[in-house]
């Protein structure tokens, strides 16, 4: 079931010039939301923005009827989201898509590695929190260009161990997530990843080589977000498949990536 409603902005925190964190409240009970699902945000008063903007659910505070959206400011549409002020309304279609799979309850001893880059870390916090609540021990491997691009580290650290890479080496190991030593030192039982496509492909390649099940969250360009327009398709074993309804999370075995 999908919903369409206005949410109230209760906080909009600029994290740096390229990111903001929106906290939104609904005046009714929240429906069930899965980590990996996203919302389609309607952009008002931005003449050059026509379509909604798909944004991952960063966290859910069910008791407060709140969700968090981590927004990367890419163009005028996301700039408009960054300029929303407390008390303003934001119209969302929610929740959308199929989320990450949660391992069976008897697998709580497993090593679950959540690998994110850039704004791709957004759904991994919600995923990590959900896994922890269900008795799992998630670990995070987060990559960014520089120290300043690493966001919400305290929030991730509150959920599980955090490993870091930056391209300039300003914090954590220097390089890309796919080169981090944790990948050679431990063998994860399951990998979840979200971030730039080259990063996810490198992670998928690693997972495949080491026979580790792996799910990726895609961010194909999208129009409707509800499976009507067929614009956001990814080639899968089932043919051209809508990322908005059949994803955004896919097992790498479903994809036809040359890895």
């Amino acid at each position: 079931m999908k919903y369409l409603a206005d949410w109230i902005v209760v906080e909009n925190t600029p994290l740096n010039v390229r990111y903001c964190l929106l906290r939104l409240r609904l005046n009714q009970e929240l429906p069930e939301m899965q980590p990996g699902q996203f919302v389609q945000a309607k952009i008002e008063n931005s003449p050059s923005t026509f379509l909604r903007r798909p944004i991952s659910i960063h966290y859910v505070h069910r008791d407060k009827r709140e969700i968090g959206l981590l927004v990367q400011i890419v163009g005028n549409g996301t700039q408009k989201l960054a300029s929303l002020t407390v008390g303003e309304k934001l119209n969302l279609i929610y929740p959308i898509g199929k989320g990450f799979s949660i391992p069976k309850p008897d697998k709580t001893k497993q090593t679950l590695l959540l690998i994110g880059g850039g704004v791709g870390i957004a759904p991994l916090l919600f995923l990590g929190q959900t896994l922890k609540q269900q008795g799992f021990i998630p670990e995070f491997l987060l990559g960014a260009r520089t120290r300043n691009d690493l966001l919400c580290l305290d929030d991730f650290a509150a959920v599980g161990a955090v490993y870091i890479t930056t391209e300039d080496g300003s914090i954590g190991e220097k390089g890309f997530v796919s080169n981090h030593s944790v990948l050679s030192n431990t063998k994860a039982d399951f990998i979840y990843t979200c971030g730039p496509k080259p990063m996810m492909m490198a992670v998928a390649r690693y997972a495949k080589r080491h026979n580790i099940p792996c799910e990726v969250s895609l961010e194909n360009t999208m129009a409707c977000g509800i499976g009507a327009c067929l614009c956001c398709v990814e080639k899968t074993v089932d043919g051209n498949t809508c990322v908005c309804t059949e994803g955004p999370v896919f097992n790498i075995n479903e994809l036809l990536w040359q890895i």
Partner: protein, 303 residues
């Protein structure tokens, strides 16, 4: 409450608002948002005789006040439609119209004949105007003789309401409209998307995998409105207007310009409930201006 019913061929629509093919899936995609029976009709995704994978990703580019698409009629074919989709949509209590496309006249005929047998599908919209397929599609709709030929052939096997969807990518759309009217079309719907293009300046590559694609959304409304106005004067059959309708006022403009009914397309993506809002807005307008029926408003332009 004004009388919102309109007649298109053998159909009586409860109100003049339909949703446009390719923007509303099979209707079910929107069932979470409002009661589908409140709109006049739903034109479902383009259906072809054989399954089509559509074009490669990327298929979409946002533009100011619109978008380009190059989906390329991805669908699972008419057999799949009949066996899997029709059973799921036949109870939707509004006019369910199937958009039919093809690469050859024989394909159009075979597909239309299959759908003619479906009790709860009272009409088809013949798509001779898709700009995103290499063969067929728009090629049939940009030439009077081929447009006439495909309509003539389909008319032989299809005895319910036949709507023909026209391409704006022509020199004179009224000539195509007259050609299909002569061959027995019950109505024309226009416009399909305008052929357009977008370039990524960083990579110097086209944004769309197909280089060109179809432009839709608010930006095309003035062009669509002009074509509806011209076509409505040139034919006797009803004209269904579409192109960039985003609110009731837009829809009313099309009706005043000559449209008997209207379709809402791309704006469904921005507001999934826009079609029912437009139906309500048309009623409010009619009451405010003292019209007892929407039919009085059609082609009422004061020049």
């Amino acid at each position: 409450m004004a009388d919102l019913t309109v007649k298109i061929g053998q159909l009586t629509l409860k109100n003049p608002v339909l949703t446009a093919s390719g923007t509303f899936g099979y209707g079910l995609e929107y069932a979470d948002f409002f009661d589908l029976s409140e709109i006049g009709g739903i034109v479902v995704k383009g259906t072809t005789l054989h399954p089509r994978e559509g074009n490669a990703y990327p298929r979409m580019a946002e533009t100011p006040a619109g978008m380009l698409n190059a989906v390329g009629l991805q669908n699972k074919g008419v057999d799949y439609f009949v066996s899997h989709i029709y059973p799921a949509i036949k109870e939707i209590n509004t006019c369910m119209i199937v958009n039919v496309s093809g690469s050859t006249i024989d394909d159009y005929v075979a597909c239309a004949a299959r759908i003619n047998d479906l009790e709860k599908i009272p009409a088809i919209e013949l798509n001779i105007s898709c700009p995103n397929v290499k063969q067929g599609g728009m090629a049939f709709g940009t030439d009077c003789a081929s447009a006439a030929a495909v309509v003539k052939a389909v008319r032989q096997v299809y005895n319910k309401t036949l709507i023909v969807k026209l391409s704006p990518n022509v020199t004179d759309i009224t000539k195509i409209a007259q050609a299909v009217e002569t061959e027995g079309a019950d109505a024309v719907s226009l416009i399909n998307t305008l052929l357009g293009m977008a370039v990524n300046t960083e990579t110097r590559k086209p944004v769309l995998s197909t280089i060109t694609g179809g432009l839709s959304g608010a930006c095309i409304k003035p062009v669509a409105l002009r074509m509806v106005y011209q076509t409505a004067k040139a034919v006797k059959i009803p004209v269904i207007g579409m192109g960039g309708i985003s609110c009731a006022k837009d829809a009313i403009e099309f009706i005043i310009a000559g449209a008997t009914a209207i379709q809402i397309g791309t704006y469904n993506f921005i507001d999934p409930t826009i079609s029912v809002k437009v139906a309500e807005g048309i009623n409010e307008y009619l009451e405010r201006h003292g019209f007892s029926s929407v039919q009085e408003l059609t082609a009422s332009l004061q020049v």
